[in-house]
């Protein structure tokens, strides 16, 4: 493709939308694995006391939490640009806030993983 986006654009998108994209992938993966798992009775398979299905779900969730933390750290490490690029300041703040919000959303999601029955 000959369309080239500038670094500024890519970072803007990564900041604003990236965190929630991770949340969305996590949500989709959890719901998909949960649905398939219940349809195929994976919750009955036991792995050291916990059902394999629950362990699998927790693993998927943890992986995305880690990914989000990493994303936040990467964004945070970007050099804060000078005042001559005011859009950059706004985007950095908005991007960090959006990623933090996505982190809260994924934690809220995780609340349910540990507390309820899976299939019945």
């Amino acid at each position: 493709m000959t369309v080239r986006t500038t670094i500024g654009t890519r970072l803007a998108v990564a900041g604003l939308a990236g965190g929630f994209c991770v949340w969305a992938v996590c949500f989709t993966a959890l719901y998909a694995v949960l649905s398939v798992g219940c349809a195929w009775n994976w919750q009955e398979v036991s792995l050291g006391g916990l059902s394999a299905l629950r362990l699998g779900l927790i693993a998927i969730w943890l992986a995305h939490v880690v990914l989000l933390v990493w994303l936040f750290a990467v964004l945070r490490r970007q050099p804060a640009e000078s005042a001559s690029a005011p859009a950059a300041i706004f985007l950095r703040r908005a991007g960090l806030a959006a990623t933090a919000a996505a982190f809260c959303a994924i934690l809220w999601l995780g609340l349910t993983l540990h507390t309820t029955q899976i299939c019945a």
Binding site: T2, Y31, A97, T112, C119
Partner: protein, 841 residues
């Protein structure tokens, strides 16, 4: 070609400049108006038409309330009643709400952003006609007595051929899909306009909040509509050809429809709410005489809302029997969405508290919005709680909730917007003080109708019942609701009268009666076809506050592009993030082609509706042909390099710019395309895991040789398409046409492979598996076919002199198509080969 006016120090007088601009931008009156592509005209058409559909939907509501006012009423039997409530919902959701804000966005965005028009004016016009014709199809069915009658969400199997043998359901499926073409094209256009057609200097952080809201909304539409469009196509195919996607006796599943529908349906209500919230964020600070607090917070909240809203859809399906943890997921996600909503509510409250709010008419409606929408939001949180939901789902409690959020969250802000922007549309101030009594009639009427309805639902009255028994205990509740409904109708009638009176007899007043700081009030009112005689440069979020006489200065030609070059319609394009000028965008003159294309598209849908399956492909080809005709007036036959734009600056024309709007539009269209495809993939996987009567009687094993042919063809096409767009190839006519010819050959090979595979699929009408496989193959094959068409188009453009090393647009825009088709090829083959293997194990 230099333009003397750009270097000439004294621009023509404002009147002369206006006449020059109006000569190219204006649309002549009379029959010529059918050729209108200007956003002022098309935007107003959307708004007026949407209001007409609102009135129709309102009359349907009145008929519903007339029937339900008393128990055992003989007013309307079930056959009629089922059409009444189905059409009420369908008309309000598809023919009123979405087009209303589309129209407002089309009218307002170029002005707020400091541009002369939307990015693709002919696409706007085409979208309008598709909307009008699709809507007419639906309303015509009402008069013909064959309106859709399975509920506005058309659950299968009730809406399948067995239980709805008449064309009622086909009218919905085809009519709504026709209208949704308009919505998707509007979404793409809104995104491109907001990202690229802004005033110089308007970086993302200086963009009006309304633009942020619309940007996010348009992205939601881009990803939210394809599942419905795909689902509708699948259901129509099931009804017409018996492919059992949703029939559980043949390997389909009714729940697949629900998932596809609600994947669209939930984001849909936020798609409806967000533009209205954008209007609130625009109007409220002006009337509070203070800049809004929390600009960044609001942007982040809106983005969060958009994403979170895609994770809620199953809360419409809490009673279908999903796993317990899934109930918890969707319940918790549904409560989470209250947070970004609360951020906006408190930003508004904080702004009011910190400002000096004036209780003018638009503010009255905003207060109506607050009180009604907050109630709706609170009942929404209640509904998110599963045990409670299991009692009130599918009762009038939900009807009450949805009206509180939709009327509160959309209608009231739109009424406020009407009173706020009517002086802009008309250039007049109200002469009669009808806004206040109208408000009270609507507000009191609404609450009378729907407040008690919460109780009606809690008392156990289900939805969609055409009557009820006298001893159910719902009698006086329904009577109160019906009385309230009629009161509300009177209010809306008064509103219509008020709008008419203002427009016709209002006093001509000064521009900017609200003292608003945004660019929309820098145009004359009513605005000329071109908005700004010259384009402003922007340095902060409140341009008019910084320069109160900006409008006069621009009209005098002191901004950019304060001239007409060779009779062209031009506006500026900027970098998405920084707002620095990077191109001059040339826009089309009035033309009949959008109408012609819409008529051709419409005949395709009508042919399908009446089962004229030989006429349909012909109409389809005609539609594609008319759409390709649009390109005759696009593009440049010679390199021009940067052209003067005023202030001694110059910029590349879009035909030579790597940032041309069309490129982004293609990327966005492919995103929507991918969403539809992934919905189909989801469908197949869902049926495999969930649907009864699996495994299928016959598995489909695609041959290795044929698969290899498909891969080979697609790879060749993708690589050739890429190569054709490289600067090295573009410089030479033979080289670029050679690559394109290779792309044709590659797609041709792939197409042959797909056709061979299609011929070998077991009878699709026998099992959902075969039907899904057939659908996947058809989807991919169509892309290969279009790949041939697009590459051939590229060759034609190249031969006609529209392409050069600098003018890459025609080739570069279509190159991604072949790569996308390759991706489709890969996923389709992976599924077709992988699924039998997974099923075997």
């Amino acid at each position: 070609m230099t333009d003397s006016r750009a270097t000439n120090p004294s621009p023509p007088s404002p009147l002369r400049l206006h006449k020059q601009l109006d000569a190219v931008w204006g649309t002549p009156p009379g029959w010529e108006r059918l050729k209108a592509v200007n956003h002022n005209i098309v935007g107003r058409r959307f708004i007026v038409t949407a209001f007409v559909f609102f009135a129709i939907g309102g009359v349907l509501a009145m008929l519903i309330r007339a029937q339900l006012a008393t128990p055992r009423s003989a007013f309307a039997g079930p056959e009629i009643y089922n059409q009444l409530f189905t059409m009420h919902g369908t008309v309000m959701m598809f023919l009123f709400a979405i087009p209303m804000f589309e129209g407002l966005a089309m009218y307002l965005l170029p002005k707020l952003l400091g541009a002369r028009d939307m990015a693709f004016p002919r696409l706007s016009a085409y979208g309008y006609w598709c909307y009008l014709f699709g809507g007419a199809m639906l309303i015509a069915s009402l008069f013909a007595g064959v309106a859709p009658d399975s509920g506005w969400f058309m659950y299968t199997p009730l809406s399948s051929r067995t239980h709805t043998p008449g064309i009622n359901a086909d009218v919905w499926l085809l009519g709504v899909t026709f209208v949704e073409i308009s919505a998707l094209s509007a979404a793409i256009e809104i995104i491109v306009t907001i990202l690229k057609l802004r005033a110089p200097g308007m970086s993302l952080d200086k963009m009006p909040l309304f633009a942020w809201y619309l940007l996010v909304t348009a992205f939601m539409m881009l990803f939210g509509f394809p599942p419905l469009i795909l689902g509708s196509i699948l259901l129509e195919t099931e009804r017409a050809f018996g492919f059992p996607f949703f029939d559980p006796t043949r390997g389909g599943d009714p729940l697949l429809w629900q998932h596809l529908f609600w994947l669209f349906g939930h984001p849909e209500v936020y798609i409806i709410f967000l533009p209205a919230a954008g209007a609130v964020s625009t109007i409220l600070p002006v009337l509070a005489r203070r800049e809004i607090i929390g600009y960044t917070w609001i942007v982040v909240a809106v983005v969060a809302l958009a994403f979170l809203s895609f994770g809620l859809w199953v809360h419409h399906m809490f009673t279908v029997g999903i796993p317990h943890l899934a109930l918890a997921f969707f319940s918790s996600a549904s409560t989470a969405v209250a947070v970004p909503t609360a951020i906006q509510i408190f930003a508004w409250i904080g702004t009011l508290m910190a400002g000096r709010p004036q209780l003018k008419v638009p503010m009255l409606y905003l207060l109506g919005f607050f009180s009604v929408f907050v109630v709706g939001g609170l009942t929404g949180v209640m509904l998110a709680i599963v045990p409670f939901n299991w009692q009130v789902h599918d009762t009038h409690f939900v009807v009450a909730h949805l009206h509180y959020v939709l009327v509160g969250g959309f209608v009231f802000p739109m009424l406020a917007a009407a009173y706020y922007w009517l002086p802009h549309f008309t250039g007049r101030r109200p002469r009669y003080d009808l806004g206040v009594p109208t408000f009270w009639l609507i507000f009191i009427g609404f609450n009378l109708t729907f407040l008690v309805m919460h109780w009606t639902g809690l008392m156990g009255m289900p939805r969609r019942v055409y009557t009820y028994a006298p001893d159910a205990g719902w009698t006086w509740l329904n009577l109160v609701s019906s009385i309230g409904g009629f009161m509300m109708a009177m209010g809306f009638a008064l509103f219509a009268a008020d709008m008419f009176l203002q427009a016709r007899f209002g006093r001509r007043g000064a521009r900017n009666p609200w003292n608003a700081p945004t660019l929309d009030w820098a145009t004359p009112t009513p605005p000329p076809s071109y908005n700004f005689a010259s384009l402003p440069s922007v340095a902060d979020r409140a341009p008019l506050a910084a320069t109160p006489d900006l409008g006069v200065k621009l009209a005098a030609g002191n901004g950019y592009l304060g001239f007409v070059r060779d009779g062209r319609l031009e506006t500026l394009g900027v970098d998405m993030v920084s707002g620095r000028i990077n191109q001059v965008i040339r826009l089309p003159s009035p033309t009949l082609l959008p109408l012609v294309s819409a008529l051709a598209t419409g005949s395709f849908f009508v042919a399908l509706l009446f089962k004229l399956y030989t006429l349909a492909p012909i109409a389809f080809v005609a539609a594609i042909a008319t759409l390709l005709l649009w390109t005759r007036t696009t593009g440049a036959r010679a390199d021009s390099g940067p052209v003067a734009i005023g202030h001694g600056e110059a910029a590349l024309p879009q035909s030579e710019s790597p940032a041309a709007p069309a490129r982004q539009a293609m990327g966005l269209a492919l995103a929507a395309d991918a969403t539809a495809y992934l919905s189909l993939v989801f469908g197949l996987l869902f049926l495999w895991v969930v649907a009864p009567n699996w495994p299928p009687p016959e598995l489909f094993q695609p041959g290795i040789a044929v698969s290899a042919l498909a891969i080979l063809g697609s790879v060749v096409a993708a690589l050739a398409g890429q190569q054709a767009a490289l600067p090295g190839s573009l410089a030479s006519g033979t080289r670029r046409e050679g690559w394109l010819a290779l792309a044709i050959a590659g797609n041709g090979l792939a197409l042959i492979a797909w056709v061979l595979l299609l011929a070998a699929v077991p009878d699709p009408a026998r099992h959902g598996y075969a039907a899904s496989v057939f659908a996947l193959l058809t989807y991919t094959a169509l892309h290969a076919a279009f790949g041939i068409l697009f590459a051939a188009y590229g060759i034609r453009r190249s031969r006609s002199g529209f392409v050069s090393a600098a003018r890459a647009l025609d080739i570069a825009v279509l190159a991604p198509w072949h790569s996308f088709t390759l991706a489709l090829t890969g996923v389709t083959l992976l599924l077709l080969h992988g699924l039998p293997m997974a099923m075997g194990s």
